[in-house]
Amino acid sequence: MSYLVKGERGDWEAVVGLEVHAQIVSNAKLFSGAATQFGAAPNTQVSLVDAAMPGMLPVLNGHCVAQAVRTGLGLKAKINTRSVFERKNYFYPDLPHGYQISQYSQPIVGEGAVLLDMADGSTRTIGIERLHMEQDAGKSLHDQDPGRTLIDLNRAGVALMEIVSKPDIRSPEEAGLYLRKLRSILRYLGTCDGNMEEGSMRADVNVSVRKAGEAFRTRCEIKNVNSVRFVMQSIEVEARRQIEVYESGGTVDQETRLFDPGRGETRSMRSKEHAHDYRYFPDPDLLPLKLKPDYVARIKDTLPELPDEKKDRFVRDYGLSPYDAGVLVVDRASADFFETVAKGRDSKLAANWVMGDLFGALNSTGKTIETSPVSAKHLGELIDLIADGTLSGRLAKDVFALMVGEGKAPSLLVDEKGLKQVTDTGAIEAVIDQVMGANADKVAEYRSGKDKLFGFFVGQVMKASQGKANPGLVNDLLKSKLAG
């Protein structure tokens, strides 16, 4: 189903491309040895090279190159064995050199693709145009001082990958799916932590609209959107804005805009009267980057199983639905957790426990898979206790709640709290007799046709047995005893 915005005079299609800036996971910066960690005191992670002091020179961090190649391979993209670092020249206080070292005409990675798992079960391919490496800029603080802007260069020079999609995205939903899939892939690869709140992944959103079948119209770029939700909202808001412009007879100017989530609108950036002319040219302090084929091959050998492949395998080998498999593989940690639980056990049961109870518990306790109070091993053991009859499903839920609270192994908790389920028919019969005896009037009512009272008896038996009676047995035995 395509996303169409209803204008006053017909339906419009949104055309969206995303440029994602992903901070490369590395200890040091792209061209200097300063650290990259988030949150340090201002200008304490700055080398003289980052500060553009006179006479300073860049030296390329080899690990960042490997991370970019790794990412390109993960995006099924072409690796360019010859790429060039170029200077992008402009003035801004958080750009101390007056230029950013980037890649323009010859990026390290070419065309690739990202698969979206649509809600209806279909897949849609979004093309990747290119990926290149570049330096991040520092930070300008405009609100610390009334008359001054303060500059912190800690971030200046940190390695970024700019991942440019083709304008294949057609709806806010697709944009959201694209970003989530991209983030998932980057996290699997270990090349970017995808943390949009901390700014290690940011998106520039290119939006234009058109009537179905038309050629592309002018696009606007919404810069630095830092959450998936805002990306989706900004697309909707901007598409509508452009449609209004067209429908009132105007033309859309190509410009850079900012998304204001508070007001739910995009605003033109009130800057430069003149258009930027970046005067790209190859950085003469560096040489062309040449990669040997076996360098790329060695990296390819170390790629982990990626989300799409893992999802397909989960469907195939564990019989999961594509939806369930899709949910489990978003995070490698979740996928690994599931597999540990599912190994040698009923995979559907494992999937339900992980996706339902475990994810629910993580949500309510504010924890992640990595900091889960219940380990995969223990959850697996819990499932074993159900399978061997020690616990009923209901009891297992009680034990699980205790596991969340105390972090102990299920068998330990069962022993400590005496939570084994009762399967002794004799014992259950005894409880049933007791309940029936204490509720003779209700027995009579049931026998005279009030079937609904069955639930009452079940509840009483369970209560009398502190929930430990095997529900299946309770059902069978109650039925036969009540039948008389």
Binding site: A28, N43, L48, I151
Partner: protein, 101 residues
């Protein structure tokens, strides 16, 4: 290709160099003279010639991914015309006239 006053003004802005209005004509003349002189390169046939990619015939060296620098906020800020450092604080800022985004 001749530079007029408007082009010189635009280039001076790109380069962030203030040129007083009354100096634009003289500057345009000088720049035109230089550009006119370098344009003799058009006489050279460069079909099929690759632009020089590097003067020195070596491969691009790479560094290990180690933190070997930084932690020198004092040095970095030492020559700043307007450093902003709170007493006892770790690190500090450069300051410039307020930028409106």
């Amino acid at each position: 290709m001749s530079l007029d006053k408007a082009t010189v003004r635009k280039i001076a802005y790109l380069a962030r160099i203030r040129v007083p209005d009354d100096a634009l004509d003289g500057l345009a003349r000088e720049l035109n003279h230089i550009i006119g002189w370098v344009e003799q390169l058009n006489e050279v046939d460069t079909t099929g010639v690759e632009p020089m990619a590097s003067v020195v015939d070596i491969t691009l060296p790479k560094r290990a991914d180690e933190v070997s620098d930084g932690g020198i906020a004092g040095e970095v800020l030492k020559n700043a015309p307007e450093p902003v450092v709170a007493p006892g604080a770790d690190g500090g800022f450069f300051a410039v006239p307020k930028v409106v985004e």
